[in-house]
Each structure stands twice: as C-alpha cells, then as structure tokens.
C-alpha cells in the first residue's frame, strides 16, 4: 500500500518544484498541486536556495495531530532583519507545516503511534477570557462543539486511508478544491469537520487573556505596509466579519507567492502575493486551501458569541480585537 501511494504521489508531483529556485521564498502549494495528486496529498515546501535553512529558523511547528505548540503573534514573524519578507512567509508556513517535507519521507513520516486526531487542550483556563467570552461559552464551544467534531472525525477516518494523516493534510485533501462533490475517498462531512477541528484549535490560540490591542512592532510594520495603518486593518477586519453572511470565519493571513517561476508583478496591487490579507470563509473553510498561511482566526458562527452577545456580532469581534488577540 505504501509503495503504490508513493508511485501515485511521485507520478503526480512536479519534481521541478522541489528543486531549488532562485527565489528564496517558501509557500504552501495546496492549490496547484492537488490537481495532480493521487490519493495522498503531500504538501511540498518549495525550497529556495536556502530552502533548508529557512526551516531551521526558530519557529514552533503547529501540528494538530499530536503536539500542542502555542503559536503567538510573536512567533509568526521571524526577527531576521535582512530577509523579513521571506521570514514572515517561512514563519507562517512553519506555523502550519504538514508532517511531510519531501516525498521521500512520505513512508516514514506517518507515525505508528498517532493515527487519530485528538482534542487539543485549551492554552488557558475556561474562564480566562471573561468578561469578553464567558466561561459558559468556552465550555460549550470548546468542550461540546469541538469535542463533537473531533469524535465525529475520528469516527469517520477510523479504519480508512485517512488514518494517520495529519489534520492539515486531511483538510486540504478533503476540500477537493472547492468542488461540490466530496473527495471520492471521504464521506462528505469529513471535510467540514476536519476543518472545524483545525479552525477551532487555531481560534483558541488566536486569543489569550489580557491580550488585544496593537501587535508587536515586527508585525505592525507589515500591517502598516499592507493595510495603510492598524486602524485600516481593523476596519477591513470588521467589515469582513459583518459581511460574512451566515456561518463562517474571518482570517488575517499571509498570502504567500503562488507562482513558482513567474517573477512578474500584476498591475493590480491586490493580486500581488507576499502580503497580509484579510479573508472571510463560509462554514468551515480554511484559507490554507487557497495557499494562504493563517495568522489569526475569529469564529463568527453564531454559537461563538450568541450566549454572550446575542446578535451583536460587531461587539463580539471588537472585544476580541481589543482585548483578547
């Protein structure tokens, strides 16, 4: 089984991507590659000339399948003064890296002991986010909603080929590039539920008691560059939150470069990669599927705020941005 999978993957992956290119930037190659992939989705890091060294940077990995690594805003920006742009990208990538680095490691990358997705513990006590998010909400949201997602997901992947995949891989594969039909090997709700688990883990880590306000200077610099000002970013963020009609999420992410060989810059500034973006996604979709690297997530499903704010989504989002981020 492992060898056939390897063949399928090997045939699919464009090997040129693994080769070093002169552009020393790394990105998540979800969009383009998944079309050519066989049954296993492998996330390749497109290495630059210094491909290996970027991985050596001092950033914790966010690996949903087993360990808990708290990703704070300090971690998402690397302090390398000479190569900030690549540093931001690489750091964001590290934050959501999949287990597999190259196709050679495909076989050995699947740990025998962990095949199931676990409910990650909260990085703070249940009442730590009071008075902005009540203990009851956290208990319900983390303890019940998320736990159900985890249980259902494990129920669905148990005994199937998806066992042993990391959550990130599963999420990207099941998205099936947004096609209506679910991935042929997955029951149709697994995608949403997998996304739900990942998203919620990220959400809890996007907040901390006593947080909020402006980010540290290193991130603020990029915010000023890409949004004009911190206030401008907040405005865009609130706008996205309030126009996400229905259930969904709002994200601050890094939109890394998606074009492997092209160095030209689009005349439309917003098309250019290598910048921070705010995006909103419906239901449980995650911007990883678009090749973005999330930095911050806010759940705007009604269950996230209804007990505390009723219908006042704007108050809820401002409270998080001002007091909890």
């Amino acid at each position: 089984m492992a060898s056939t999978a390897l063949v399928a993957v090997g045939g699919g992956i464009s090997l040129g991507l693994v080769a070093s290119s002169s552009v020393a930037s790394c990105s998540l190659r979800a969009g383009g590659d998944s079309r050519r992939l066989g049954r296993r989705l492998v996330l390749l890091r497109r290495g630059g000339a210094e491909g290996q060294s970027t991985r050596g940077r001092n950033c914790p990995k966010f690996n949903c399948a087993n360990e808990v690594d708290v990703v704070t805003e300090d971690d998402s920006v690397d302090g390398d003064a000479t190569d900030d742009e690549a540093g931001l990208e690489a750091a964001a990538d590290d934050a959501i890296d999949a287990d597999v680095d190259t196709e050679d490691e495909l076989d050995s990358s699947l740990p025998e002991d962990v095949e199931w997705i676990k409910q990650q513990p909260l990085p703070y006590p249940l009442d730590a986010l009071e008075p902005f998010i009540s203990k009851e909400t956290v208990e319900q949201h983390w303890g019940v909603h998320q736990q159900i997602h985890v249980d259902r997901l494990n129920g669905m992947i148990g005994g199937s080929e998806w066992e042993g995949m990391s959550l990130g891989q599963m999420m990207l594969a099941s998205f099936n590039e947004g096609r209506e039909e679910p991935h042929p090997l997955l029951p149709c709700r697994t995608g949403t539920i997998g996304h739900g688990v990942w998203n919620h883990d990220f959400y809890w880590r996007s907040m901390k008691p006593g947080g909020g306000g402006k980010p540290p200077e290193r991130l603020l610099k990029f915010i000023d560059r890409d949004f004009g000002s911190y206030e401008g970013m907040i405005r865009q963020f609130m706008d996205a939150a309030l126009t996400q009609f229905g259930s969904g999420w709002v994200w601050l992410s890094y939109k890394g470069s998606g074009l492997p060989y092209v160095k030209s810059r689009s005349p439309i500034p917003s098309d250019n990669y290598g910048r921070l973006v705010i995006s909103k996604t419906p239901n449980a979709i995650n911007p990883l599927v678009w090749g973005h690297s999330p930095l911050l997530a806010i759940d705007v499903w009604e269950h996230a705020y209804y007990l505390d704010y009723e219908d006042r989504r704007a108050d809820y989002v401002s409270a998080i941005l001002e007091k909890l981020v």
Partner: protein, 233 residues
C-alpha cells in the same frame, strides 16, 4: 408571572429605517418593507421555543434584516439612477441576504402557532392527502425534514416546498438566507424551519435535533394548507 406576560407582549409594528406604514415610501420614493407583527405573544410558543428566543429573533434579527434591506434598496435606487452598474452588482449580496432574511422570516412567523390555537395539529384535507401521496405518511415527512435540517451544515433553512408546475411536494434546504425560489422558480414555500443557530441556541445549545423534534408541536398546518389550496386552485 404577570410581569413575564407583560414583558413578552407581541411586538408593535415598527420599521427601523423605514416608515411605520405598510408598503412605506421613503423620501426618494423607494418602496420599503416593514417588520410584520406576530399574531401571538413571544412566550406563547413555549416550551417548544422560548419567549426569549422569539423576542430576539423577531425584534433583533428580523428587524435588522428589514433595516438593512431597506438601506440596500435605497442604495440600489441611487446606483441605478446614477447608472453605476458596478455599484448595482455590488449590492446584490446584501439584497439577497437581507431581503431573503425578511422573506423567509415573514413566512416563518406564520408557520408557527401556539398549541392553544391549533399549533401542532396534523394537516388535514388536500395537503394531508398530498403529504401521504408524496411522502408515504406524515411521520415520514417529519422524519425527512428533521434529517435534512439536522444535516444542514452551517446556517440555512429546511422547507416543505410545493412545485406548482409539477404539483408535487418536496423537502428542500437552502443555505444562509437564500429564499426557496433559489432552488427552483416554480417552488412555493408551504413551511420553513429556520436552522440558523440563533433560532435555537439559547434554549437547545448545539442540540439542533431536539429543536427540530420539538418545533412540530407549534407548527401551523392550517396556514400551510391554505397556501397549498390557493396555489393549486
């Protein structure tokens, strides 16, 4: 207890952002919509749906849809007058969402009735027979709607729809606030159940199936039957 009854009086008909007259006209001459009254008190549907949910649902959620829809209509009017096609297109999202929200909830309030006034009584007459024909039995219909409602991901509605061309009943779901017509131009909604979290969260938390099981006790089949007969008359 008395205080509670006072507190749950049915809403006055006021439209935020529009005038208080039905089919009001704003200063620009745009015809705006108004928040419809409930024909029962907020607390009258208990214990199936709590008074607190009914109050918030009607006074906050529906009222916001009305206000935002009216605002979008005014902006649309201005954009059309200025021949600003891209602004017209830009507004479609807000119109679909808020307008849909208004349409759907207006139907929803009529679909509900206190038990004391006939809520929950099974459908009789032509609609009853049609349900038996198209679904096998009333219980089968309820089971199907509950299953589809529970399976709906995110926010949306589950409908008992009448296809007026094919003259058949069906169960449909729509996402977010999309009205039933987005599923088929010939579909007429007889009964809609709101499965947005705001419709049940305060009372049922995440247990949507319990909400769906209980709501049948307050469903107004008389209204659904009237719509059915009018359409097929």
């Amino acid at each position: 207890m008395a205080l509670r009854t006072l507190a749950s009086k049915k809403a006055l008909s006021f439209a935020l952002g529009g005038a208080a007259r039905p089919l009001a006209a704003s200063a620009r001459g745009v015809t705006t919509v108004t928040l419809p009254d409930l024909s029962y008190d907020f607390g009258a549907l208990e214990p199936a749906i709590s008074g607190e949910i009914m109050r918030l649902h009607h006074q906050k959620h529906h009222a916001t849809y009305v206000a935002n829809y009216n605002k979008a209509l005014e902006q649309l009017d201005a954009a059309v007058a200025k021949r600003d096609a891209s602004a017209v297109v830009q507004l479609q999202g807000a119109i679909k969402f808020n307008g849909g929200g208004h349409v759907n909830h207006s139907i929803f309030w009529k679909n509900l009735k206190p038990i004391s006034e006939g809520g929950g009584e099974s459908p009789h007459g032509k609609l009853g027979w049609a349900i038996d024909e198209d679904f096998g039995s009333f219980e089968a219909l309820v089971k199907k709607m509950n299953a589809e409602g529970a399976a709906l991901q995110g926010s949306g509605w589950v409908w008992l729809a009448l296809d007026k061309e094919a003259k058949k009943l069906s169960v449909e779901t729509t996402a977010n606030q999309d009205p039933l017509v987005t599923k088929g131009a010939s579909l007429v909604p007889l009964l809609g159940i709101d499965v947005w979290e705001h419709a049940y969260y305060l009372q049922y938390k995440n247990v949507r199936p319990d909400y769906l099981n209980n709501i049948w006790k307050v469903i107004n089949w008389k209204y659904a039957g009237e719509v059915y007969e009018n359409v097929l008359a």
